[in-house]
């Protein structure tokens, strides 16, 4: 019993179950899940689908926070990714073409990769505090997104692109599949390789880790890049769901939601121990009305 009580996931799970209980009493239909046209429908499905982008970002953020860092720029990166993909799709002669969408998505992810490297550079090489380093991109990022969209809200009409945010696969929203895939990837990377051990170690005791021969610089580059790519994926899902790139509002405040989710999920902001399954719970419970 004491093992259960001291588990970092104990309180988050209790709170989540309590919230579900409240909902069940207040809205009896809360847990109803129906199958319509071969898709799942219901409040719970909505919660999970709408939570997917935040969840994706929270996975990246968890790793960043585990290294004693923070990434404020994810919201801005969402907006940039959305802006890039939509402008490419709009600029092509055939927006409905799968190839076009693939090019758009890959370009957005590559740009995010560069932005992540930039954050990593400021933190690991220049040695700027993470909160400040990522503040730069947080501030400038939406401006850059505006630059790409030329201040317009870019509405795209592309079936393959729309699938990302609103499609279903085997009855479950595609966005949820994506989140699950990233979660699995993160779990694989941190649990099947030594990455998890290294990240925890650097987060808890950077100097001991250095003396043990860890390369913390490369590690910081990796987590900030991963976080940025996660943010871009979330941005693509959000944009696709709204079928429009809105440089001002795509992913607005999502960094704060994600940080909150990570913290509620039991990862200490002081770095170190983390729980990558935690954001799943936390996100579902922190859904904003």
């Amino acid at each position: 019993m004491s093992r259960v009580l001291t588990n970092r996931l104990f309180w988050p799970v209790v709170v989540l179950l309590a919230l579900f209980a409240v909902n069940l009493v207040a809205f009896p239909g809360f847990f109803a899940i129906e199958v319509k046209n071969g898709h799942l429908f219901g409040s719970l499905v909505d919660i999970v689908r709408n939570g997917a982008p935040t969840l994706i970002i929270a996975i990246g953020m968890t790793l960043v926070i585990a290294t004693r860092g923070i990434d404020l720029s994810v919201g801005a990166i969402c907006a940039i990714a959305g802006a890039i993909s939509c402008s490419i799709i709009l600029g092509s002669p055939d927006p409905g073409n799968v190839g076009t969408v693939v090019v758009a998505v890959i370009t957005a992810l590559l740009v995010a990769l560069v932005l992540g490297l930039w954050n990593g550079f400021l933190v690991a090489v220049i040695g700027v505090q993470p909160i400040i380093a990522t503040l730069v991109l947080m501030t400038a990022g939406r401006g850059i997104a505006m630059l790409i969209t030329e201040g317009q809200i870019l509405t795209v009409n592309s079936a393959p692109f729309k699938t990302l945010g609103s499609g279903f696969l085997f009855g479950i929203p595609v966005a949820v599949w994506i989140a699950a895939a990233i979660f699995a990837l993160a779990a694989l990377l941190t649990r099947r390789t030594a990455l998890g051990l290294f990240i925890e170690s650097v987060g808890i005791n950077p100097e001991a880790s250095r003396q043990a021969g860890l390369r913390s610089r490369g590690l910081l580059f990796s987590v900030y890049t991963f976080s940025a790519v996660c943010a871009a994926i979330a941005g693509l899902v959000l944009t696709s769901n709204q079928t429009a790139a809105d440089a001002n509002n795509t992913g607005l405040f999502i960094e704060l939601d994600a940080i909150l989710a990570v913290v509620i999920g039991g990862t200490s902001l002081a770095g170190g121990r983390y729980s990558s399954s935690a954001p799943w719970w936390a996100r579902s419970s922190s859904r904003r009305s």
């Binding site: 909160i131 400040i132 380093a133 501030t139 201040g151 704060l256």
Partner: protein, 317 residues
């Protein structure tokens, strides 16, 4: 001068401001007019007040992310209470007290429970925005005669120049802050905290009280800025002033205050606000440049100043 972390960044900011003015003056007719300059204050009076509060916090090495949300909350309290028929004489003090109390709570959370300033003020930010929605989901306009009078009054300065009463308030706040920071023991303790909390404690300074007080000041300034903002917009809206905390932080950093605390001046932060304002003005004058360049410029400036600070402090290690 330039290589000192105390004065270097401020001098750079001043030179930058003058350079932008020079460029503006060469490129655009009427840019160097007195009213263009005064409008920087008129349009940014609330931001100056916010930046003053933020300067106190950042000087101690903390940060306050809640200021934008607290501005919004103040506009909502003002608009809803005035709508309900309360007199401004009650509403204004009430807002200032409420936002100061919020600052007190944040300060206690940081000092007593050792929550990081970032998280504590983030929580306050969510709380304040949440309260906005409890008050109303919609924009509430203000028709109170005192508020409208305050909004439309211009104080002539001779020639064809004029300012608003808000500017006077902002200037008074700046003067008060300068006096407090430079000439009181509390103010010096603020700098001491940023220089080293441990040292300050060993020197027998009132570390705890000072640490809490800066967040109360920031809360108070946010409330006051919110009131000035309602004079400017004559409405309350829950989504207003989103991202304003970033502007305030940017102004303080560009104004030469070190984010790690200990170095900086209120007047530097005022320069920082003016830099942000003048960039906006240039973009307006340019016409073809779009408004989003403002954010990119601010981001780039932030970067320059952060790297500059890094260089200045790294050299003395």
């Amino acid at each position: 001068m330039l290589t000192s972390p105390k004065h270097g960044p401020v001098v750079v900011t001043l030179v930058l401001l003058l350079a932008i003015f020079a460029i503006g003056g060469l490129r655009y007719r009427g840019f160097l007019g007195g009213q263009v300059f005064l409008n920087l204050f008129v349009d940014n009076a609330y931001l100056i007040v916010l930046a003053v509060g933020m300067t106190f916090v950042i000087l101690t090495g903390g940060i306050d992310l809640s200021v934008g949300a607290v501005v919004a909350l103040s506009t909502m309290i003002a608009a809803s209470m005035l709508q309900a028929g309360w007199s401004p004489g009650v509403v204004i003090p009430l807002i200032l007290i409420a936002t100061s109390v919020l600052g007190l709570l944040v300060g206690l959370m940081i000092h007593v429970f050792k929550v990081q300033p970032f998280i504590a003020t983030l929580a306050a930010m969510f709380l304040a925005r949440g309260l906005c929605y409890i008050i109303s989901n919609n924009s509430i306009s203000i028709t109170d005669p005192f508020f409208t009078a305050f909004a439309y009054t211009r104080i002539p300065l001779g020639g064809r120049l004029s300012i608003t009463p808000s500017v006077v308030v902002a200037v008074l706040v700046v003067i008060a802050a300068v006096v407090v920071l430079q000439y009181t023991r509390f103010g010096r303790t603020v700098y001491a905290l940023g220089g080293g909390e441990q040292s300050g404690m060993l020197m027998g300074l009132a570390v705890a009280r000072t640490k809490v007080l800066v967040y109360i000041i920031s809360g108070f300034c946010s409330g006051l800025a919110g009131i000035l903002f309602t004079f400017y917009t004559l409405s309350g809206y829950p989504l207003t002033a989103i991202g304003t905390e970033l502007d305030a932080i940017a102004a303080v950093v560009i104004g030469g205050t070190l984010l790690t605390g200990g170095y900086g001046f209120v007047l530097g932060s005022v320069l920082g606000v003016l830099v942000l304002g003048v960039i906006q003005t240039i973009i307006t004058f340019e016409g073809t440049l779009s408004s989003w360049w403002t954010r990119i410029f601010i981001g780039a400036l932030l970067l320059v100043f952060i790297v500059l600070q890094k260089l200045l402090t790294a050299r003395r290690r």
